[in-house]
Assembly symmetry: C2
Homo-oligomer: 309 residues x 2
Amino acid sequence: MLTVDDPTSPAGSADVIRIKLDIAYDGRDFSGWAPQPKPGLRTVAGVLAETLGRVLRLPEPPTLTVAGRTDAGVHARGQVAHVDLPADAWAEASRQRGRALPLAAEIDELASRRLLRRLGGALPPDIRVRGLGRAPEGFDARFSALWRRYSYRVCDTAATADPLHRHDTLWHLKPLDLDAMNTAAARLTGEHDFAAFCRRREGATTIRALRWLDWHRDPDGIAVARVIADAFCHNMVRSLVGALLPVGEGARPVSWPAALLAAGVRDPAVRVAPPHPLCLEEVRYPPDADLASRADQARRIRVLGGPPA
Amino acid sequence: MLTVDDPTSPAGSADVIRIKLDIAYDGRDFSGWAPQPKPGLRTVAGVLAETLGRVLRLPEPPTLTVAGRTDAGVHARGQVAHVDLPADAWAEASRQRGRALPLAAEIDELASRRLLRRLGGALPPDIRVRGLGRAPEGFDARFSALWRRYSYRVCDTAATADPLHRHDTLWHLKPLDLDAMNTAAARLTGEHDFAAFCRRREGATTIRALRWLDWHRDPDGIAVARVIADAFCHNMVRSLVGALLPVGEGARPVSWPAALLAAGVRDPAVRVAPPHPLCLEEVRYPPDADLASRADQARRIRVLGGPPA
């Protein structure tokens, strides 16, 4: 049902409307974004597509294309997806019950508003669609994206423990030295082969451009990592966090994560940090005029071996 | 097991040590702070006292005195309680397993640190003790308090909905005009008889000093009420919020809450807002030198009819 979008997709054709969706979810009760080989597992894409299909009375759930395919247990506040809908279903969504269709010029605005409200009522409370509307020309949620930003939350002292955040925060028993972690993190940014921090997949590159990686304390005293990359490979953020935590607690030297990176192979000493403190916060796109060229460029990189997702 | 503390309590006696506890909890799975008439209900005080008794090997769970007796479903990040412990149990808590007791001068610091760590391991994840230590002379968690501060979180637009916060935030379908709510709220502050906003109890006054009541948007766009009073009567914050929400959505004039207050009786048109967005954020105490006199003063007010809790 969910497939990587196709460069020859009908996004520009007259009878199909591409819709951009801004999505937030609590990943706890989902087996990640994407459908799993094992049937019956609850996924974000599965629930969202099923709800869209039901609300719009489509013959079958539509196919969603997503910016960041989050793993099981990972949350999102800034997830972005697109879906291509039949133009008549989109027009129908703009209609008030029992009334005639609105003027053509009003359809986009009314359909966006009404579909958003109906999704609010129809979706389970652990998924919210925060906004939706007709996508700008050339937009592709996955391939047009410039970068993805994730956060990772760690509570390292009893004084800042907040049980209301226990499902999105790691409780770490030893206090962390964020200065040491930031010194170590600075040596990881840039374009590198992140094979040491990725689960390798056959035929896929592990070269990524890590644009930003730092730690700060939020107003509640929680240590929060900010991680930005053009794209991430599987488990990459959690592996980077897993390499930095021992530096923060003084168990490893600040040079250790960079040495792992240089070695270029997975080191069993790096523990992949748990998924529940990880959240996709933002996906950044270029100005509308550059959406299509960015997507073409990203697709070419994919053909060369590296899937940006 | 839990009783209102007694002015003749043994806090000053040599064989008892008064301990101050800073506590945070997710109120969702608790029937409030205080023990309930119906047996078998899980309460914050019950779990905390049982855990303290077990960790310290006391013959029975100790009695906790609390600053704010939160209702079922209400959270806390800044709850404060005190407990009077036998001096020998406190000294024992400072001892490392299999070692001799530390020097007397070190007992407070070591017992605080070790008991805090052991409580972290023994308490369920929906209660955290954030800090503990010997209380200053004259301290009483309930009667020494100058004021209590609560927050109430409301999400009023799909664009800011965060499923990770659905257990501590009200999802309100209509956008709120915070300026109107603040105009209405300003007319409620000061010392008044809040009978219109309280569940009346036989023989208890409903006069309270509401020091602060306003609404602001946090960085995520959530509408947050800040409510400060010397003390609150039952349901007071939730009733005040319930009177202000219709003002924010334009269903009632800004003069309505003040008119309710002046009428002095409960109006069935005021819906008590749900408990899950309410959180006790802070309890403020006077400087150590004034703790005992403040407690005496608050106890006298209670004798005159008004329980500050």
